[in-house]
Symmetry: C2
Subunit: 421 residues, 2 copies
């Protein structure tokens, strides 16, 4: 394995924005990418000249499967007026735009570019849920996992089962993640779901009254989440509200060389750590209670940044399923193995807690347009670090934050660490 | 547009190899990638330790369409024993592995990595020709080109028509490219087609004698290529032998930082220029007789390398169709617009000529497993520059060589320039 590395020159985020994540059947990837670009553009304090951008990197899992369109990078570059710049699509399944950030960072550090656009996009809802499940399954190993009928909910359910068996977690312990992330998403206007679980309960109660149907008797939010009718099992122990939705969306970052960053803003966010790792498909994992790729990517990012997990104040982690957030917070070194779910239950990772995780709502509530997720995480980090997250602004100062983006059945992971100086 | 750039640190090719390109219905992308990796491995003069490699970049157009498998980078990394390294798939249609080389170069120049594997792979023949045509069409613009029935042969046929109209080229002038590239491919054991046109004529004559069918009366190779039965039109003026085949194959390079290159070989090939550009889809090109993306990518590569087109001794260019080679040799600045086909006819670009182009056989004869093509070109350059091309070794010394890799309907182009010191 590589020894600790440092960048030939520094890199900073100088702008970040996203489209609203959600169901956008009337829009295409290009439309959503334009919206994200415009939001990014508006976030650059001193503005920039389009002609200063030098390259485009786009994370996208599969416009082939979802929209029948390959070679999407130049099409997206065209949509935002950036032809004839180099335009490259980066793919690592759900970690595609995390990997795209890494390419953008390397492009600048390499000396080839000073200002690059890094985006992510996915338009998923034109397919049926069954078709999306098949398309996402292709991010696992078709020959060794999917051939046996293992789709993503099943895979993460197996991890949840193994985790429960080893650490004594109960299925209902997963609800703390659902409750927290929906509460955060309720404060994020760009989230796919902007309702806390209590809002959803109230809406269903109101509907029952209007329809004259029998009133549900939920004594609290946990009871709602335990109600098989309200929250059916998808793959035991994972229920509907344990799963991130199928979303459409896009997100964009503007990266600059550190020496030029302050031409665009007095408050850039520096990329001080970047780590990436691959792994065998889950069929060959020897332990289902953690993700080795997360551990290795995090280790590389921490070493490069010269910081420890304890230094990280805020993180956006890849909660494609509630169990994935619990395991990520452990693999990233925030909490000891087997304790992540308790930290969530105790409010440690709540928005107003000491170590907020997924203040954006996470994939669970903000939504998961897979190729856009990695960049979308950094949009939240940009806002929180700069104190621009509005009603969902965390209570702690955030000098250091981390983004964790997972791909496939844990066979790709990208971790970035950001510093506000 | 960007000003001239230089790499933060130098990068060299220290190994290169490929699988045989061709029809490999009994093999998958993983199998072919392993073969390419083994060939690359055998080419590294002093050998290397697998554990020294630090990252994997794979160019692949669409394992989704061709094999139903997304997220192929970690799967290929696994196949060659490189899990848990960072593994990233790079996609720019037929320029995917040219773009992957650029990512590998930037990864090293950035300071993040010292030794990286750059590969390219595509397995296309499990689909029918019609399905492949559809899959490749998705590399154009589905909404604005393909919706009107424009597939790739039609697009390049339109370019050939426009070129003939402007410069007075006759359809038969295209044959010089076919003849040259088949003659070169006949000397390349890894080529898809290893027969010169004269070999093909002799084989058909022999078959006619055996079958007792009427003997064809071709007075020479040009007559064979003008025979509608032997060489039918695909899209006028392009005939069957004007089109690159549908191939399976893989290719690999080992890239090292310049300071470490001589640990692996006394004869590294330095990457001194890298250029990439995007363009609108062909539907929006204002001139069909050239490719702007090629011109801009070449300009960036020449500026970075500090050399001129006249300095280049050998080139592998993207001859997906014969007309594409003619236009590429003009856009790269080797020949004036409208003269490229004459240079081929006059033997200037022949293997034993003063400026050999596609000594490997080119896409036409070596084959075109689209995601593998860009790296495959550099395998030929590696061999020719080092004098290891055996019976097809060019006559000229090659201190400087160029690789030109085109994607989609000219909406991506990547150019690299290599130096042997």
């Amino acid at each position: 394995m590589a020894t600790t590395k440092s960048l030939s020159r520094g890199v900073a985020v100088v702008g970040a924005g996203m489209s609203k994540f959600g169901v956008h059947k009337d829009k295409s990837s290009r439309d959503l990418f334009v919206e994200a670009y415009q939001a990014m553009s508006a976030s650059v304090d001193r503005g920039f000249d389009l002609a200063e951008i030098e390259a485009v990197f786009v994370g996208n899992y599969s416009s082939e499967f979802f929209e029948g369109q390959g070679h999407i990078a130049p099409i997206l570059a065209d949509a935002v007026g950036l032809v004839p710049l180099p335009a490259t699509r980066i793919e690592d399944a759900c970690a595609s735009s995390g990997a795209a950030i890494r390419q953008g960072v390397m492009a600048i550090a390499s000396g080839l570019h000073d200002l690059v656009l890094v985006g992510g996009v996915e338009h998923m809802t034109s397919l049926s849920t069954a078709q999306v499940t098949d398309a996402l399954s292709a991010a696992g190993d078709m020959g060794f996992e999917m051939a046996s009928g293992f789709t993503f909910p099943g895979i993460f359910a197996a991890m949840a089962s193994a985790y429960m068996h080893r650490y004594g977690m109960a299925p209902a312990d997963l609800h703390s993640i659902t409750l927290k992330n929906h509460a955060n998403g309720a404060l994020n206007p760009e989230a796919h779901f902007t309702q806390a679980i209590s809002d959803i309960m109230a809406a269903r109660m109101e509907a029952a009254i209007k329809n004259g149907s029998p009133l549900p008797e939920w004594k609290d939010e946990n009871a709602f989440l335990e109600d098989e009718a309200a929250n059916p099992f998808v793959a035991w122990p994972l229920r509907l509200f344990d799963c991130a939705p199928i979303s459409d969306g896009a997100a964009c970052l503007l990266l600059a060389s550190a020496e030029r960053a302050r031409a665009f803003t007095d408050d850039p966010i520096y990329v001080i750590g970047s780590g990436q790792a691959s792994d065998y498909s889950l069929a060959n994992h020897t332990d289902l209670t953690n993700m080795r790729a997360t551990r290795l990517a995090a280790q590389a990012a921490y070493e490069m940044a010269g910081v420890s997990p304890m230094d990280i104040r805020l993180a956006e982690v890849h909660d494609c399923f509630t169990i994935a957030e619990i395991i990520a917070t452990e693999d990233l070194g925030f909490f000891a193995p087997g304790t992540g779910y308790r930290m969530a239950e105790d409010g440690v990772t709540a928005r107003d807690g000491p170590r907020p995780v997924n203040s954006s709502g996470g994939l669970k509530s903000k939504g998961h347009p897979v190729g856009a997720t990695g960049v979308g995480q950094v949009v939240e980090i940009w806002k929180q670090m700069r104190g621009e997250a509005g009603p969902r602004q965390v209570k702690v100062d955030v000098p250091l934050a981390l983004a964790h983006n997972l791909g496939g059945t844990g066979s790709s992971c990208v971790v970035h660490i950001f510093e506000r100086r």
